[in-house]
């Protein structure tokens, strides 16, 4: 519990804001004064998005426990349906909506 709102609170928030901005801006600052970013940065910009998206999928599932009930089954079912649906229909919103609603139904009813 926070007993009182002293300046410590605002200093901590300011420090976190600063750190966050730093991580976002650093790549842009490093390559700001070049007419063209170095070839290696262009290469990374080309190949990283796919890899980072794979990383984000794992990141968003990081707290999943597959060793205890429900063993990640709702996630597996929802993702399987999403993948199949998306490969056939290629409709971004439809795939996301069906996957999410299916997951919500699963965790609120079958795996509640």
């Amino acid at each position: 519990m926070i007993q009182h709102l002293d300046w410590h609170v605002y200093v901590t928030i300011a420090v976190v804001v600063l750190g966050t901005i730093l991580t976002r801006v650093i790549s842009f600052v490093l390559f700001a004064n070049r007419a063209k970013p170095p070839a290696v940065v262009q290469y990374l910009g080309d190949v990283l998005p796919g890899a980072v998206m794979g990383l984000l999928v794992v990141y968003s599932l990081k707290d999943l426990t597959i060793t205890s009930y429900p063993y990640g089954i709702p996630e597996a079912i929802a993702l399987a349906v999403l993948v199949i649906l998306h490969v056939y229909k290629r409709n971004l919103l439809l795939s996301i909506a069906v996957g999410t609603i299916l997951y919500m139904v699963l965790v609120q009813t079958v795996f509640a």
Partner: protein, 244 residues
């Protein structure tokens, strides 16, 4: 006209994020006020920090003894993935003028995900598209946190499981890149390396080693390819010609 069509193109893509952010924002508001913070504080943090997982961590920092240096280092660690996003967007955000400032400030996971993967038609102004995606997502997040902080107790229907919308979003965008771009190998590598590190060191510490490994592997692949093409250029040309 240009501005309007950029918005029309951007808005539908942010709708799933609206659903996810409103829910997560409400959850965050509830959590922060539940930890004893006055309602305006989570809203202030969401509007200034604007990095979801770090905002949850900051609530813990505020309830722990004052340690600004520790807080700073922890922020760098938790948000190190942004360096990655920056590397990916250096070229794309070039030439966007003043918009570059809000684009970089608001570069959260979801805005990066959409801006990095969407194939924007030539008729649409790229800078405005990026900016619309970014400010809309910002609004959803801060709005969700405000709802949760000031009125979270009024919500009665069960939204359990809606946080999966963000997993679904990342999965679909990942799939899009797998299905369209000729960069399948990099997609699999990113996924596989991250999953391997998660299994090896657990959910608290896998991100940094995974990101370093991805960059190192990709850089060595580039080096290998270049040296391979340098060494054998005349030979491979002769060999591959009949097949083409």
């Amino acid at each position: 006209m240009v501005k309007r069509s950029a918005f029309g193109y951007a808005f539908p893509l942010t709708v799933p994020i609206c659903a996810g952010f409103l829910f997560l924002g409400i959850s965050y508001g509830l959590y922060a006020t539940g930890q004893g913070l006055p309602a305006f504080l989570p809203v202030l943090m969401s509007a200034t920090i604007f990095a979801g997982s770090m905002e949850f961590v900051t609530v813990a920092l505020l309830t722990a003894p004052f340690d600004p240096l520790g807080a700073f280092l922890l922020t760098l660690l938790v948000n190190a993935r942004h360096i990655f996003y920056g590397l990916s967007m250096v070229t794309a955000y070039r030439g966007t003028g003043w918009k570059k400032i809000p684009l970089i400030y608001g570069m959260c996971d979801e805005s990066f995900a959409i801006n990095a993967t969407t194939k924007i038609p030539d008729t649409i102004d790229k800078g405005w598209f990026y900016l619309h995606v970014t400010w809309l997502n910002y609004l959803y997040w801060v709005g969700g946190v405000a709802l949760g902080s000031f009125g979270g107790k009024l919500i009665t229907i069960s939204l359990k499981g809606i946080e999966f919308v963000l997993t679904a979003l990342f999965a679909v965008l990942f799939l899009e890149l797998l299905l369209t771009a000729g960069k399948r190998l990099y997609c699999y590598l990113g996924f596989g390396i991250t999953a391997a590190w998660l299994l090896a060191v657990g959910p608290e510490r896998f991100m940094i080693p995974a990101m370093i490994t991805i960059v190192v592997v990709f850089l060595s692949m580039r080096r290998y390819k270049r040296s391979a093409s340098h060494d054998s250029q005349p030979k491979t040309e002769a060999k591959e010609d009949p097949q083409v």
